[in-house]
Symmetry: none
Subunit: 192 residues, 4 copies
């Protein structure tokens, strides 16, 4: 007799076995991106599993806690940002563009960073972002496109603010909001 058998309805999903693993992992990250974007970082954790079409246990196996999952999502985001910045002619404006594009998820990201600064997994993400900005900034400075007074921390702050504000905006005002914020930062960062 199974120690814990119930499932009277008999509709349990078929177990596709370990080979479903990598696929599940990807599905979870994708689902998390959507769920976090829609409901914020504090969305019900199992909503992610449900949206991914994956058992709760698998969610916990792949990502033992909320932070682990969020970090995975954001790591992917950073991949994208890094790729963008890698282009030799990428500008700060391009970076902001990317942030704007990722705005929704980015907020959850910022949320995560501010809320868990001491978690080392989060620090890892912060470091990646930092490096990325630093690199870009050096190029912008060299090109004289932004003022010497602008430091990495300023750009990080701007990114954080930008992501936040966009995430809070309704879809229909988001574009205007982004434009306004970007103009503001451009003014603030302009060479004197």
């Amino acid at each position: 007799m199974p120690e814990n058998a119930k499932n009277l309805s008999g509709t349990r999903k078929v177990n596709r076995g370990p080979s479903a693993g990598p696929e599940n992992r990807r599905a979870l990250i994708a689902a998390a991106r959507e769920v976090f974007a829609a409901d914020g970082l504090q969305a019900p954790f199992n909503a992610v599993a449900k949206k991914a079409g994956v058992g709760q246990g698998s969610l916990y196996r792949h990502f033992p806690d909320r932070i682990a999952l969020a970090v995975a999502v954001f790591d992917e985001n950073l991949d994208q940002l890094e790729a963008a910045v890698a282009a030799p002619d990428a500008t700060l404006n391009d970076l902001l563009d990317d942030v704007i594009e990722q705005a929704l998820v980015s907020t959850a990201f910022i949320d995560l960073i501010w809320t868990n600064v001491n978690d080392e997994r989060v620090a890892h993400i912060g470091a990646r972002l930092n490096a990325l900005v630093e690199k870009l900034l050096a190029r912008e400075h060299a090109a004289g496109r932004i003022g010497e007074h602008v430091e990495t921390a300023d750009v990080l702050l701007a990114i954080s603010m930008l992501a936040d504000v966009l995430a809070r905006s309704e879809a229909d005002e988001r574009h205007a909001m982004a434009e306004r914020a970007r103009t503001m930062f451009r003014n603030a960062f302009a060479p004197r």
Copy 2:
């Protein structure tokens, strides 16, 4: 002890009756300010009642939902901001100072506003803030202290961003963060 004895523990707070009404209302707002500041807008609702030393039922009577309570808190905040702006020599910088001072509560405020733009009670608050900034801005423009390109919406955006970023910061970095952000806005808003 009779079988049907009521209130066996006997420590129930005395019911001070209707006269406690206004006092309770004030206590609830004060408690909410602290609770929201400490734990954010999504803090357990009854934590407010407990901190106010008031029954849960009274909390719901005075404020039927979370928004009603938050609006009450922020209305008081706006009283303060309005008083500050009323001084004939008040500057935008002073306003930002006040926002910084109120940073923690302000975030819950911003959060609330962005999350419930369609609620008319919230709209009322937004309107008050808008009016306040408009007034101040006119004065600043007249004095030539900020650029003509700066609109009310820019300042509102800056306030929102500032409040957010501060609320997320750890106590020990908050000052530096505020300075950095303020410098950024000053640059962005400076006359050209």
Copy 3:
């Protein structure tokens, strides 16, 4: 709109209000006694609420954790034992009789004591039991009914063992088991 309303089926139990409190408390203790007896101290906690016909929240309000509930149950048991021992002619044998009678719950009790020796609420129970045995033992010694070599700790150990062994026995062997154990202790404690 209620923040968290669901209850689509509409069959929520009527709220009998605070006056249900003491009654609920009693029902919970009674239910816990049965549940712990049937399934041991680690029985599903909400089984107690269900059996008591009480909401889960009320269970947690009255007894914030398992230990609090167990202590309440055992406190009642001790009331009974103390009353029994109070009779001037009560003997150790009578005490053992009572323990045997309470055997099932007593095991959960012993379990609790051994598992949480450091919890002060449990210590309180332990102290009560200790005092009770000490008092009885003094009388038995004075009457010469048990050997001088028998200490309080010996009796406590015997009680613990007795309760355990009975709780493990099937109903139909329990009587024989109790007899055998009691004879053993009588031999061990007899005056030499």
Copy 4:
């Protein structure tokens, strides 16, 4: 990396195939002994597999349920007890010593026996223990070292109680506890 790549992490233990069978079985029993001793018979089942360094599936293959595993563990314990009793000069005291030594595992054992008296695999274990005690007891009686009134069931009861009480004790009181209990049994079993 191909879309349908399997086992992306690549750290899966190599499948040593059927030849690992007997070795795994031994590892599982050893692991179970430790896990049951540390966390009791209700320890997470897969903790055993993990500690044994064996897949969960293998655990279930070798031992279809918790009882099967426990029986295997205790069978080994009995091997040891039987060997000890086989020595022609072994006394009841020696047996109790062994039980004390095995106290932790023994409890899980007792637990199991009392909880599943009807399971035939468990009965088998009970029978072995019974035989062992009977044999020893005959010798003790012959030597006049214990009273004629002592039956096999008495000794089994004492063993069960002893194991229980020790398993519940904190490590630092265990020795004193064992001594007190043993003295008690010696008194109870002494020839009159």
